[in-house]
């Protein structure tokens, strides 16, 4: 005997599973365009090059945290020779003040969960935006 019915059900389940990204995206009207990030400053240059910051900011921040918390060092000399204070609140969020439009958009987009806000308070004006958008 053939068990055709059961096999067809199996194939449909398989198709459904494989096609999940297709129909899920279609349902949500997703576009390939990634979210637009609002840097929140006119400053052209971050502490390191944009490409490096894009791919490796998490490692830089991790390194900063360890330096400050474990070694008590507070100054970072960048590859261009400029000196910055290693501080999320005083350095990073000074420029990147819009957590939601900057950090979150990208992090949500690729589902990367930053540990920053476990301890740090998000920049203040972010709260206002949060209130206004919600």
């Amino acid at each position: 005997m053939y068990d055709a019915g059961k096999i067809i059900v199996g194939i449909v389940i398989f198709l459904g599973a494989v096609a999940f990204p297709f129909w899920y995206n279609a349902g949500k009207a997703a576009t390939p365009t990634p979210p637009k990030l609002e840097v929140g400053t006119t400053e052209k240059q971050c502490v390191e090059s944009t490409a490096y910051m894009k791919s490796s900011h998490m490692q830089l921040l991790d390194q900063w945290r360890d330096e400050v918390v474990r070694n008590g060092k507070r100054l970072y000399v960048s590859s261009t020779g400029k000196t910055y204070e290693m501080s999320l609140q005083n350095t990073c969020t000074k420029c990147h003040s819009k957590k939601e439009q900057f950090c979150d958009r990208c992090h949500n987009y690729v589902d990367a969960a930053p540990k920053c806000w476990d301890c740090h308070v998000p920049p203040p004006e972010k709260k206002q935006t949060a209130r206004s958008t919600n």
């Binding site: 068990d3 990204p21 995206n25 949500k28 576009t31 390939p32 490796s56 589902d111 969960a113």
Partner: protein, 334 residues
């Protein structure tokens, strides 16, 4: 061709594939080919190929119900039947198949505790095969599901949950996923087992080494991309979502390691339907597992059953009638 030749041929094949991707994207800039055309072809071949193969099997009937019974069958009411090992109804079959598919029941049979020389009860080496197998498959599944975060927008919550559980220990930055380690370890174990156990090496074909090496290549390139040679995830996701919304776009400047990863995945997808990897579909169709042990209880029809030549009683009696009568055995025709 012995196992070593097979092994080296497979290794060379995988290295060649890596080089093709590196060369194709890095040197001659065929981003669109490797980022769009090949992935589409691969997905199409994968889906169509698998369905084709399953239909090929489905076209062939199961003429007899031939369960391998591994427990007491259903007989007298006061004898406890084992519905999972010798199923007597559909629920039993479903249960048996679930145990087989989700827990690798039959492989697990190898793993009974056994008494070795000396006072210690220890486990036989065979449990490693089960453990390696199950770690490999579940890690692979989790990794595939985790990748959904690149394929769709917004990301379903179950995928987020999966990632956070998988990265539970928050080791290093970015967090190392447990399943990445599990997959690498399990695939390496399965590979080394093939290489170093003489019996297993003896039976191994290139078709056994190649997929393992290919998957190892995929896993290694993935881990490298996540933890060493970073890629821009925004662009990666843009490319992936583009593929899955049928608006393919190829953002410029994604690092070559990503294309190596993607190309190896594509090769795996294309290779899948034509290889032993089809065991994934085949396990559901295996008649020794998915038929119930109810042969004397319920009718089973063989669609190609045909009449055969038999030696009828009449012919038999014609052969021996006189002797039968003499011996006092009743006969039909006097």
């Amino acid at each position: 061709m012995n196992a070593w030749t097979s092994l080296f041929a497979s290794l060379i094949a995988v290295i060649a594939l890596v080089l093709v991707a590196l060369f194709g994207v890095g040197a001659i800039g065929l981003d669109t080919l490797f980022g769009v055309v090949i992935p589409y072809i691969a997905i199409a071949v994968f889906v169509v190929g698998i369905i084709y193969r399953i239909l090929e099997w489905a076209k062939v009937p199961v003429p007899f119900r031939i369960p391998t019974t591994c427990g007491q069958g259903k007989s007298l009411p006061w004898i406890k039947a084992d519905n999972l090992e010798s199923p007597y109804n559909t629920w039993g079959v479903i249960g048996r198949m679930a145990l087989e598919v989700f827990l690798f029941r039959s492989l697990f049979r190898n793993t009974k505790a056994e008494l070795r020389e000396g006072p210690n009860v220890t486990y036989g080496s065979a449990k490693w095969l089960w453990l390696g197998g199950i770690a490999f498959h579940y890690a692979f599944l989790t990794i595939v599901l985790r990748h959904i975060r690149f394929f769709v927008e917004p990301i379903p919550s179950f995928v987020e949950l999966l990632s956070s559980v998988d990265g539970f220990f928050q080791l290093l930055v970015p967090t190392v996923f447990l399943t990445d380690i599990a997959l690498l370890a399990a695939a390496t174990f399965l590979f080394l087992r093939r290489v170093f156990l003489p019996q297993l090496r003896y039976i191994s074909l290139a078709a056994d080494f190649f997929p393992l090496l290919l998957i190892l290549g995929i896993a290694i390139s993935g881990v490298l991309m996540r933890n060493v040679w970073k890629v821009d995830l925004l662009m990666v996701k843009q490319l992936a979502v583009g593929l899955f919304t049928l608006h393919p776009t190829v953002p410029a400047g994604i690092s070559s390691i990503f294309y190596v990863h993607l190309f190896l995945v594509c090769v795996l997808l294309v290779y899948f339907p034509f290889s032993k990897l089809m065991h994934a579909g085949g396990v559901f169709l295996s008649p020794t597992r998915n038929t119930a042990n109810v042969n004397r209880m319920e009718r089973y029809v063989n669609p190609w059953n045909y009449p055969v030549k038999v030696h009828s009683y009449a012919e038999y009696e014609d052969d021996f009638r006189e002797k039968m009568k003499e011996a006092g055995i009743p006969v039909d025709k006097e």
